[in-house]
């Protein structure tokens, strides 16, 4: 079938509508550009589509997961690790699990809202410990954008003045839940820093959005827009300019280029009618997610760019990292027979533990933060599974029924989220044989953790077990072995994958410059996690947002000056 060339031409084509793409659409339309936004998934509006306040019994599967809702059927994000018609492959010996979102707003519809700024050290790690590389920009370059972001989106937290954990412009944090106070007491005794979490959930009204109503269901997408998602905060003002055209169900397959080597637009497959379309644009901004943007560049081959677009360095797809993840749950006898009360709170933790140690005294570089959980959650599928790990025996009958009542909300869990250092064995490339259902060649992953990450995972295990014991409790799982990588989650499972189009001053070793502009193609930019040089122990979204805001303002400035 023939390619359908859309007649209209745009100033900017943005690929992807999540954190990076939503921010680019907002900043660029407000600066006067006419923007076309391509989203591979369908429309999503949390005011209409959110399953907020739905009880488990309203659905026959009681909230259990499905292939495109692996976090449970009420989750706000359509997507998953195994998408029908969209395979990827792993090189022999590799296990990388690649999560893709397929809906307007992408992963921001369900993300954890944990909104941590990368700190000054995170941009110059090589200078500090010799590992990995430095960014082409510093914290000072992003600082004003973090501040603007805090004011635009809203974030709660507390001023702490901790090293490398920059404070923001915070709304007041919510009071901790009672089990969180118990965790904090144990952390204090162990000299582990435990402070209010920093989440982009409103505790005060902001910019026409009401404050949180504390239903604890942020992950389902907030029908009142009281937390951050691209669709709640970024897309609406972009649409209000009248300059944004959104095309959903548009699976980008190639960035088109002209004889001058500049990008001319994007070719995509409509996932409904399966036909190929092309949009023309003077500037192309990729924000499809780190690996998806790399795939698009690698698939954009031409006589002039035989190894893919913006890939003269050969580093597109390289330096792929994910956050390290280890989780341990503990049964805390003191929490049994809990006093009935509503402790839903915000959708997530009210307290957390930022990295608190000095690497000079440790056998691994870099650090991790600890996310905590527990409490009287709304019962959904999986509730109180594994009761034998709490009451010691399992059992059946009246005694078991009473045990369920006693031990409801008697566990806490700790999840370590740490920094992985890029290594040469972790990258993605185009699989030479496999295409997806739209005829687009798919990614093949290579992924191997180094000793650094494995030692860090061991430290996480030991720390979480120590906290559980300090609380008078018992871990509900045995300590995993070195062969089990100490319970380290597979690459991709924490869904913080970045890299693959890293920034740098040297075009021989990086894909984009400090403005996230491709060295090889001056009207091509990357606004997702692709340009990240490090993957700090801070969830990446807040820094993706600030970086995309800066990149988009740079694009607007360059347009004004006539540089593009």
């Amino acid at each position: 079938m023939q390619i359908i060339r859309r007649s209209e031409s745009y100033d900017v084509c943005v690929v992807g509508s999540g954190a990076g793409g939503g921010m680019a659409a907002k900043v660029l339309t407000e600066a006067g550009a006419r923007v076309v936004l391509l989203e591979a998934g369908g429309p999503w509006d949390s005011a209409k589509d959110s399953k907020m306040a739905t009880w488990a019994y309203e659905s026959p599967r009681r909230g259990a997961g499905t292939p495109t809702k692996p976090f449970g059927e009420f989750d706000g994000c359509v997507g998953g690790w195994d998408l029908p018609g969209e395979p990827f492959t792993n090189a022999p010996g590799t296990t990388f699990d690649w999560f893709r979102a397929r809906a307007l707003g992408g992963r921001t519809n369900h993300w954890g809202r944990i909104s941590l700024r990368f700190g000054p050290d995170d941009f110059k790690r090589k200078s500090l410990d010799g590992l990995g590389d430095d960014w082409a920009i510093s914290y000072d370059d992003l600082h004003p954008y973090f501040d603007k972001l805090d004011r635009l989106v809203g974030i709660f937290g507390s001023k702490e003045g901790l090293p490398n954990e920059p404070d923001g412009i915070f709304q007041p944090p919510p009071k901790p839940r009672c089990y969180e106070l118990l965790i904090k007491e144990a952390a204090d005794r162990l000299k582990i820093t435990c402070i209010p979490s920093r989440m982009s959930i409103l505790t005060r009204p902001l910019n026409g959005r009401p404050a949180c109503h504390y239903c604890g269901q942020c992950g389902r997408g907030c029908a009142t827009h009281s937390n951050f998602s691209s669709t709640s905060v970024l897309i609406p003002p972009a649409l209000a300019t009248g300059k944004l055209r959104i095309i959903t169900n548009a699976m980008a397959r190639e960035v088109t280029t002209g004889s001058d080597g500049l990008a001319t637009g994007v070719s995509y497959v409509n996932t409904i009618d399966r036909r190929e379309y092309q949009v023309r644009a003077r500037i192309v901004v990729l924000a499809a997610s780190a690996c998806e943007s790399a795939r698009l560049l690698l698939n954009s081959k031409s006589a002039r760019f035989p190894d893919g677009l913006a890939n003269s360095s050969g580093t597109v797809g390289k330096y792929l990292t994910d956050t390290t993840g280890v989780s341990v749950s503990g049964f805390i006898p003191k929490l049994a027979d809990s006093v009935p009360h509503n402790e839903d709170g915000i959708g997530g933790m009210h307290l957390y533990m930022p990295w608190w140690l000095d690497n000079k005294k440790l056998d691994f570089p870099r650090g991790y933060h600890i996310e905590i959980g527990g409490g009287r959650h709304a019962p959904t599928f999986g509730v109180m599974g594994g009761i034998q790990r709490l009451n010691g025996v399992g059992g059946y009958g009246k005694k078991l029924k009473d045990d369920y009542r006693r031990f409801y909300a008697s566990t806490v869990n700790f999840s370590g989220r740490g920094e992985m250092i890029p290594n040469d064995n972790c990258y993605c490339e185009i699989d030479p044989r496999v295409v997806d259902a739209y005829g687009i060649p798919v990614l093949r992953f290579h992924f191997t953790f180094a000793d650094h990450e494995i030692k860090q995972a061991k430290h996480m295990q030991e720390t979480f077990r120590e906290i559980i014991h300090e609380m008078g409790g018992t871990p509900t799982s045995a300590m995993p072995s070195r062969e089990q990588l100490y319970g380290l989650a597979n690459g991709g499972r924490i869904i913080h994958e970045v890299g693959c189009a890293r920034m740098g001053a040297d075009p021989k070793t990086s894909v984009v410059n400090g403005d996230c502009q491709a060295h090889d193609v001056k009207n091509l930019f990357v606004a997702d996690g692709g340009p990240f040089v490090t993957n700090a122990d801070k969830n990446v979204t807040w820094t993706i947002l600030a970086l995309s805001m800066r990149t988009s303002e740079r694009i607007a400035d360059k347009r004004k000056r006539g540089d593009l």
Binding site: Y57, P60, R62, C215, K334, H341, V393
Partner: protein
């Protein structure tokens, strides 16, 4: 065979209607996955796991068997372990009592459960039955505690709009011996 969203909703309504009709006339729910014999076994097992007491009804009162039938088709990965596990229970009962589990007397059923429902020191040779029972008990718990009846029993009071988050009440704080710093 997996439900489409429309089929899932239909199945849900079918189960709800059947339960309502059964309450009136005694007409039974017709399972889509379980055979009649398997379904009879499921009905007996779930009530042995979660019986009626003075605080709430039993697993069958809460509609756990139709929920299980739905989940078997919703997640086909569960089917073999469920079908095989129920068959294994029958093999064990046949070996001990020359009867299927359903045909056993209550004391015989309990004798079996006393061996397979407790994970602290199960008799040797029963590891498959113990593994099945752990998983079956978990599915029973999901089916029971997610109903209105189960949620009320647990005294879960959330899933409501809260104007102002004030933290936890003093009774909950006192129970744990914690307090808010001023």
């Amino acid at each position: 065979m997996v439900w489409t969203p429309a089929e899932a909703q239909q199945a849900h309504e079918h189960a709800e209607k059947s339960r309502a009709a059964a309450a009136k006339t005694g007409a039974p729910f017709k399972p889509k996955f379980f055979t009649a014999h398997e379904y009879a076994t499921v009905n007996v097992l779930v009530d042995l796991i979660i019986p009626r007491d003075d605080r709430s009804g039993s697993a069958t009162d809460a509609g756990v068997p139709p929920f299980m039938d739905f989940m078997m088709i919703d997640d086909p990965n569960r089917q073999t372990a469920m079908r095989g596990g129920l068959a294994y229970i029958d093999h064990e009962c046949n070996a001990r009592f020359e009867k299927t589990f359903v045909a056993c007397a209550d004391a015989q059923r309990r004798a079996l459960l006393d061996d397979i429902a407790f994970t602290d020191d199960p008799p040797p040779g029963l590891s498959h039955a113990v593994a099945f029972f752990n998983s079956f008990r978990d599915l029973t718990a999901s089916g029971f505690w997610t109903t209105k009846m189960g949620i009320a029993d647990l005294q879960y009071t959330g899933n409501v709009f809260v104007d102002e988050w004030k933290g936890c009440p003093s009774a909950a704080l006192n129970k744990l011996g914690v307090k808010y710093s001023s």
